[in-house]
């Protein structure tokens, strides 16, 4: 993927670019709003990572100009302003996701990959599968190796989200926001318990585990290498 990071703090920018390159992506960076806007207008990137507070041109205005010019590349806002109102402002300006500083790199990477995938995947798929695990979202049926698995409604949504992002790392915050639809800080490992219950239903009786814990990041639904 070709990625552009527009961030004025050189250390943060360097850290992000280095991390993205290590993950196998082609990442470039720009340190001010005007410069970043020109780069984004002249070249095609798969995902843009934009800081909200930038010299010359702030992040919101940058994205508005970009959208006005017809550029549709997904934008992830990065900001120390983390209130819901700030997020809403960011999304209204044309951003696609919002990540508060400080962030874990794994969270950023997971979100960038989801954004890039979103651009070309059809969310309307009703038949989801990985290995021998199958889900029919219309008839609300789940089975593994032909064996029917009964899930609670929330477990179903959780598995559906994991299946739609199969192979990617999904963080706990992403699960809270997308499966539970609440933005809040749980003080206990509530998500882990839900995931472990789901794991008990889809993995326990089978040889090959599909739902993996990614240390320090979150979870990933994938076939073992």
């Amino acid at each position: 993927m070709r990625l552009l990071v527009i961030e004025d703090d050189p250390k943060t920018a360097e850290f992000i670019v280095k991390g993205l390159q290590e993950a196998g992506h082609n990442a470039e960076s720009s340190s001010d709003g005007k410069d970043g806007l020109f780069m984004a207008l002249e070249q095609d990137f798969d995902v843009l990572v934009v800081d909200r507070m930038l010299p010359e041109l702030d992040g919101l205005s940058l994205v508005r100009s970009l959208r006005a010019a017809g550029k549709t590349a997904p934008v992830l806002f990065l900001s120390a302003l983390a209130e819901v109102n700030d997020k809403v402002d960011g999304l209204r300006a044309g951003g696609d996701d919002y990540l508060a500083k400080p962030f874990a790199f794994s969270e950023l990477l997971a979100r960038i990959e989801v954004l890039a995938r979103r651009a070309d995947s059809s969310a309307a798929d009703t038949q989801l599968r990985i290995a021998d695990l199958e889900m029919d979202t219309v008839r609300r049926k789940v089975s593994r190796a032909g064996k029917r698995i009964d899930l609670q409604p929330r477990e179903f949504r959780l598995l559906e989200y994991l299946l739609r992002h199969a192979g990617q790392v999904v963080t706990r915050t992403m699960l809270l926001e997308n499966v539970w639809d609440y933005h809040f800080d749980p003080q206990t490992n509530v998500i882990d318990v839900h995931v472990s219950r789901l794991r008990g239903k889809i993995d326990k009786e089978f040889d090959q585990p599909l739902l993996h814990t990614v240390r320090g990041a979150g979870y990933s639904l994938r076939e073992a290498d």
Binding site: K11, F15, G19, A80, F105, T188, N189, V193, R215
Partner: protein
């Protein structure tokens, strides 16, 4: 929200002032008119008495000069000259038989006053009875004994006086009524004018309390007390807004200036080779950052700016969501969750913050209540507003510590060893207050934590 008064409110100061003023004014006018009436009537009566006295003097002189026949002739002349005259005469001999005058006989039922004056009812002559609704007239008279046994009675029919008094009374009563109406209207007008100006100030204050710190009271340039009050309140609001702005700037600066190096620290840690020490350090860093974020969040909630994003929240559905999220964690700890959620409870608020608050309370119950105990989540619609209650069977909180545990970083000694930094209840309190609700803790026999009046 506070009740607004648009119509006359009996508890409003201006209404009571106007009412008192109206009553006082009406009472003074009543007193003035009563004095005027009494004075006028007594003056007219005095005039009549003087005239009667003068008549008696003239008639007794006539008697002395011309004797009884002369007097009789004079009385006849006077009576015949004016048939509708109010003057009353009677000349009687020593037996009481009338000799002259327009009275048929000596009045039998006269009331004799101590000063010799008589008051009696005057029979009406048949041809006049059709004209008047009254059957009798009052009359005032004075008897006079003449030499030779004759008795003279001179009096006046009081019809005219009564008529005058009647008209005067009606006039004054009309005046009274008009005065009272004017006083009520005036009182109402002034009360409304003053109420409106106070209401303008109250409206602006309410908007400020609702988080619109840039609201000001409109000035009217009359330079009176209300205008001065509005000016002072505006100046005060200006100072408060500046102070809140300072706090927010400081908070934003901290967010930007301190969190950036902290995130760099975290990034550096992430790029270190995988090891248990690295993950332990990352957990520590995350906790530091979480504490920091929580502090900033509480500060910004307290600044009230999130009220701008308030919308209708289905609290019943939200309560079920919190319960559903926490149920597995509680279940793993052997704690059972009992739900008493009234259906269809709605409120205006911030969905995510309310969820956070209820989740924090449930989290606390989970941490401090023993295994195999029951935790109850209640939601009910009460007179003061929607109320959440989280009831656990844990050790509770001693009454002396109830206030303290709601402050930042304050925890009970016994719980120092459990995870958390002591911001959970401060967050709940800030969220409750943002919604005009109250966090109430009752720590006797397990803890009951309520968010009352959302």
């Amino acid at each position: 929200m506070a009740a607004q008064f648009k119509k006359a409110n009996p508890r409003s100061t201006t209404f009571r002032l106007a009412l008192g003023y109206t009553l006082l004014f009406t009472a003074s006018v009543l007193l003035l008119f009563a004095g005027l009436y009494a004075g006028t009537v007594s003056f007219a009566q005095q005039q009549i008495r003087t005239a009667i006295q003068a008549d008696i003097t003239a008639l007794s002189e006539q008697y002395q000069r011309f004797g009884a026949p002369g007097l009789q002739e004079l009385i006849d002349r006077r009576v015949n000259a004016r048939t509708t005259s109010p003057e009353l005469y009677l000349l009687a001999n020593r037996n009481g038989s009338p000799l002259a005058g327009n009275l048929s006989g000596w009045p039998a039922d006269a009331i004799v006053a101590s000063d010799g004056w008589l008051t009696f009812d005057l029979g009406i002559e048949p041809e006049e009875s059709g004209k008047s609704s009254r059957t009798t007239y009052k009359a005032l008279a004075r008897p006079f004994a003449l030499q030779g046994g004759f008795r003279l009675l001179v009096g006046r029919d009081l019809e005219q006086l009564n008529d005058l008094a009647h008209r005067l009374r009606n006039g004054l009563l009309m005046g009274m009524a008009l005065t009272a109406v004017l006083a009520v209207l005036g009182g109402w007008y002034f009360s409304r004018r003053i109420s409106r100006r106070i209401e303008r100030i109250n409206n602006a204050c309410r908007q400020v309390m609702a988080g619109e710190l840039n609201q000001r009271i409109p000035r009217d340039d009359t330079h009176d007390e209300f205008d001065a009050l509005a000016g002072n309140i505006n100046a005060m609001l200006g100072r408060i807004e500046a102070a809140v702005g300072d706090v927010r700037r400081v908070a934003d600066n901290i967010a930007h200036d301190l969190r950036t190096p902290l995130s760099r620290l975290r990034s550096t840690l992430e790029s270190v080779d995988d090891s248990d020490a690295k993950h332990a350090a990352l957990r520590e860093a995350d906790q530091l950052l979480d504490t920091f974020s929580a502090l900033l969040r509480i500060a910004r909630i307290e600044a009230g700016e999130r009220r701008a994003g308030f919308a209708q929240v289905d609290l019943s559905a939200m309560a079920h969501d919190v319960a559903e999220l926490y149920e597995p964690v509680l279940d793993d700890a052997g704690q059972s969750l009992r739900l008493e959620i009234s259906p269809g409870v709605l409120a205006i608020g911030d969905r995510d913050l309310l969820f956070q608050a209820v989740a924090n309370l449930l989290d606390n119950a989970h941490k401090y209540a023993p295994a195999r105990s029951q935790i109850t989540l209640q939601l009910s619609s009460e007179s003061g507003g929607a109320t959440f209650r989280i009831i656990d069977q844990g050790p509770g909180i001693p009454a002396v510590d109830i206030e303290r545990v709601q402050q930042r970083f304050q925890r009970l000694e016994e719980s120092r060893s459990s995870p958390g930094v002591g911001l959970g209840l401060s967050m709940v309190k800030a969220v409750a207050e943002l919604h005009g609700a109250q966090l109430v803790l009752d720590g006797a026999g397990g803890l009951t934590a309520s968010i009352r009046g959302i």
